[in-house]
């Protein structure tokens, strides 16, 4: 005490300086970490949005086709099933050769036919004639997507400053496309196909509807299984089970289950549900069960944490008013833990929504031509769809893949938004 305040000695001042420096270093590191995270996010999002945004529009071409009876229905019987099998490619080819007056030149014929989505145009005509066979012999106006390459060119995604032979679109096609655009026969419109169609081999016809329905059905199964199981197991372990070696062992194992790589659950699904129980391959039912195994520990851990966080006064108060143990738990503790349980469940579900690896083993990494309508029908899932599209050769898949990622992200944001909203609505402060 002889030399006054301890902060005046040289040693104390040095220590104070050191402490303040440590403080500001940590502060700076924190800001840098956040800045890095934000920069990474902005970079990722701008690259995905930048590539994917153009997939939300699609150029379509309108042209007239003559539904020649000779070509489509030589028998003249107008049998819808036979008409469905007819050669509509030839009809579309004839219409385009005529429209661009290409004569017999093979090269120019290919170029003219290459303007339009060959599968798209033929199928539009096919399905219309199938439903209304009386169309045969008439002339009909078709609006079909342009080919993926032309679409990419019109969106400015293809370079044209290289030799024509190396390009995906030829000089003739460019000239025709410009002419058609000026006359309004080619126009750009919102790409509804992306949201309403099932998967397709052709980028201009591909949609995520099948994958979204597949993901929803899978998530439904996951939720129905994992939520009651997870919450039930947590309530039992937290409130009823005796604290002994056995329950410790169970607890450790469940916590470990949450850390098991997801592919292992896929292998389990293959061995147990497909091979042993003989459940259907590629079905959302099996996908849902497998993902439920993955989600269940997450829900259980979140539920236990939420139950622990309920103040003991709530439980004690209920008991002191004469409630039984079960009444106190189910009428008072559990409702008060609901926000935490819901948040944990939704985060677990969101993680399951983004999984591909376990689905690979049970055959959900697949091309399915139909939108599934039940949990036992073959289906794919949204992340799987992204994976498969990214592996395809055509340039147009690049933007479609990014668009599918944006759709998946939108799903995630909706789910996480719901979690935050529920939490803030149900949350109680003590």
């Amino acid at each position: 005490m002889s030399s006054g305040s301890p902060h005046t000695t040289a040693r104390a001042v040095a220590m104070l300086k050191k402490r303040r420096r440590a403080n500001s270093v940590f502060h700076a590191l924190g800001v840098a970490a956040i800045a890095f995270a934000i920069a990474a996010l902005v970079w990722l999002m701008s690259s995905i949005v930048g590539t994917g945004i153009s997939a939300f529009t699609q150029n379509v071409i309108t042209f007239e086709v003559v539904l020649d009876e000779e070509e489509l229905d030589p028998s003249g019987e107008r049998d819808p099933d036979a008409l469905r099998l007819a050669n509509y490619r030839a009809v579309v080819q004839d219409a385009l050769y005529e429209r661009f007056d290409v004569g017999d030149d093979r090269q120019r014929r290919q170029e003219a036919f290459g303007l339009v989505s060959t599968s798209g145009a033929t199928d539009i005509i096919r399905q219309q004639v199938f439903t209304d066979p009386s169309l045969v012999g008439t002339t009909m106006t078709v609006t079909a997507p342009v080919s993926d390459d032309l679409d990419q060119y019109l969106k400015g995604n293809l370079t044209t400053d290289i030799d024509e032979s190396l390009r995906r679109v030829s000089d003739n096609q460019i000239a025709w496309a410009q002419e058609l655009k000026a006359s309004g026969e080619i126009k750009s419109q919102f790409n509804w196909t992306l949201f309403t169609a099932p998967d397709s081999r052709d980028p201009e016809l591909a949609g995520v509807a099948g994958a979204i329905v597949g993901s929803l059905l899978t998530m439904l199964v996951t939720f129905v299984l994992a939520f009651p199981l997870g919450v039930g197991a947590a309530v039992y372990l937290e409130e009823y089970a005796p604290k002994n070696r056995m329950t410790d062992f169970v607890e450790i194992n469940i916590n470990n289950l949450a850390a098991v790589p997801s592919i292992v659950f896929g292998l389990l699904g293959l061995a147990v549900f497909l091979n042993f129980f003989g459940m259907p391959r590629s079905a959302p039912l099996v996908g849902g069960i497998v993902l439920a195994f993955m989600t269940f520990p997450t829900i259980m851990i979140a539920t236990r944490a939420a139950l622990k966080a309920v103040p003991s006064g709530i439980y004690d108060g209920a008991l002191s008013l004469g409630a039984s143990h079960t009444q106190a738990v189910f009428h008072h503790k559990l409702p008060n833990a609901a926000p935490g349980i819901l948040t944990g469940s939704i985060i677990g579900m969101a993680r399951a929504l983004g999984e591909t690896a376990p689905l690979l083993m049970i055959g959900m990494v697949a091309f399915v031509t139909e939108i599934p309508s039940s949990i036992t029908e073959p289906a794919s899932a949204l992340p799987v769809q992204i994976f498969l599209w990214s592996d395809s050769a055509e340039v147009a898949w690049e933007e479609r893949t990014s668009a599918a990622i944006l759709i998946l992200l939108a799903f995630m944001i909706v789910i996480n938004g719901a979690a935050i909203w529920l939490r803030s609505k149900l949350e109680k402060r003590w």
């Binding site: 033929t122 199928d123 091979n275 042993f276 990494v365 091309f367 139909e370 592996d391 050769a393």
Partner: protein
């Protein structure tokens, strides 16, 4: 273990009685189940889509790789197994034997066309005019000391121009598929083996000690001059765009779709082009197949129709929709022969 389980399950089901088996029969599937090669996948899905448009039958195509496909396919004859497996190589004798052992009696083989394997680089990059021997010299782990002395030494080539002065003075850097890929199998079996046989002593070894020859021919460098880049050919193409001096090994259909960015090296003087792959002038090409269970074609007639759609003129003929997406189809005569096999459901036997 799995077999035991399955038998137990079968017993349990039969014990459960008639009602159960009736239910199983009425829930028989209507869709066609296809598994197999990721190389055939783009063509298979195209046909699946057209077939669905024409008939309304749902088709499910899984991309499991050729090996995985054969395994699933030959797992049994029941309707819970796939109807068709796609393959980027011929079915192995052992795989056909597994099929027969598991009760798949008649397997119909269909060859659909050819796939070239391209050694490509960025369009702005140097020109590569390679021979198979040079490909082998660039990517083999060990090389013979000379044409006549087959003492194997570690591959010391770092630059293309060290192999041959006519090649570009660039570091050897090759991006290609990993050993699990059918494309890699074909690259190793056709390009590397072909190149190894250009050494007279190795060609002699191939006759005397096949195992030693295969070890010498099939082993790819591990010193960073060859980089396994995953099954996704798009990733390899992207890598080439970002690495102008590197070369990549991938399927012809990816070159056909990306000619504005990538060019293919000539091999033994032949360019990787549609014509050269059809005629066989381009040396690194392989046949693509699919295999159908004859018994399933009887059960679900749509399977036969699907196979015939794959072989039809509209699909695989000149200017057909498969040609549009880069398949080099089989000749008209070959397709006619396979159509007959599909119609009659004739199984094939390995001649080897």
């Amino acid at each position: 273990m799995r077999l035991v389980w399955r038998h137990a399950a079968a017993k349990a089901v039969s014990a459960a009685g008639e009602a159960n088996s009736d239910a199983a029969a009425s829930t028989a599937r209507s869709e066609i189940r296809i598994v197999g090669s990721s190389t055939v996948y783009p063509f298979s899905t195209k046909v699946a889509q057209e077939f669905k448009n024409k008939t309304g039958v749902n088709v499910v195509v899984e991309s499991t790789g050729s090996g995985g496909g054969h395994k699933l396919f030959c797992d049994g004859a029941g309707m819970d197994t796939p109807d068709i497996t796609n393959s980027s190589r011929r079915q192995k004798e052992s795989e056909l034997a597994a099929c027969h052992a598991n009760g798949v009696d008649e397997v119909v083989e269909v060859m659909i066309g050819y796939d070239g394997i391209v050694i490509g680089n960025l369009r702005e990059g140097p020109e590569f005019n390679l021979s198979l021997k040079q490909v082998y010299q660039a990517f083999a782990k060990e090389l013979p000391t000379s044409d006549d002395d087959c003492t194997m030494v570690a591959n010391g080539y770092n630059n293309w121009s060290e192999i041959d002065p006519s090649l570009p003075n660039e570091t050897i850097e090759g991006y290609g598929p990993p050993p699990t890929s059918g494309t890699r199998d074909a690259f190793v079996e056709i390009a590397m083996e072909g190149g190894a046989k250009a050494y007279p002593c190795l060609a002699a070894l191939a006759d005397s000690d096949e195992d030693a020859f295969l070890a010498a021919a099939h082993t790819v460098r591990e010193d960073g001059r060859w980089i396994d880049s995953g099954e996704n050919d798009n990733v390899i193409v992207q890598t080439l765009v970002n690495t102008p001096t590197a070369v990549g090994v991938f399927g012809y259909s990816f070159l056909a779709q990306n000619t504005d960015k990538i060019k293919g090296a000539t091999v033994d003087g032949a360019e990787p082009s549609f014509e050269n792959i059809t005629t066989g002038d381009y040396p690194i090409s392989r046949s693509l197949f699919f295999y159908v269970k004859a018994s399933h074609m009887e059960e679900i007639p749509a399977i036969r129709q699907y196979a015939l759609e794959f072989l039809s003129d509209e699909a695989a003929g000149e200017g057909g929709y498969l040609e549009e997406i880069g398949l080099v189809p089989a000749t008209d005569e070959a397709r006619a022969a396979y159509r007959d096999a599909v119609v009659t459901g004739t199984g094939y036997a390995h001649e080897e």
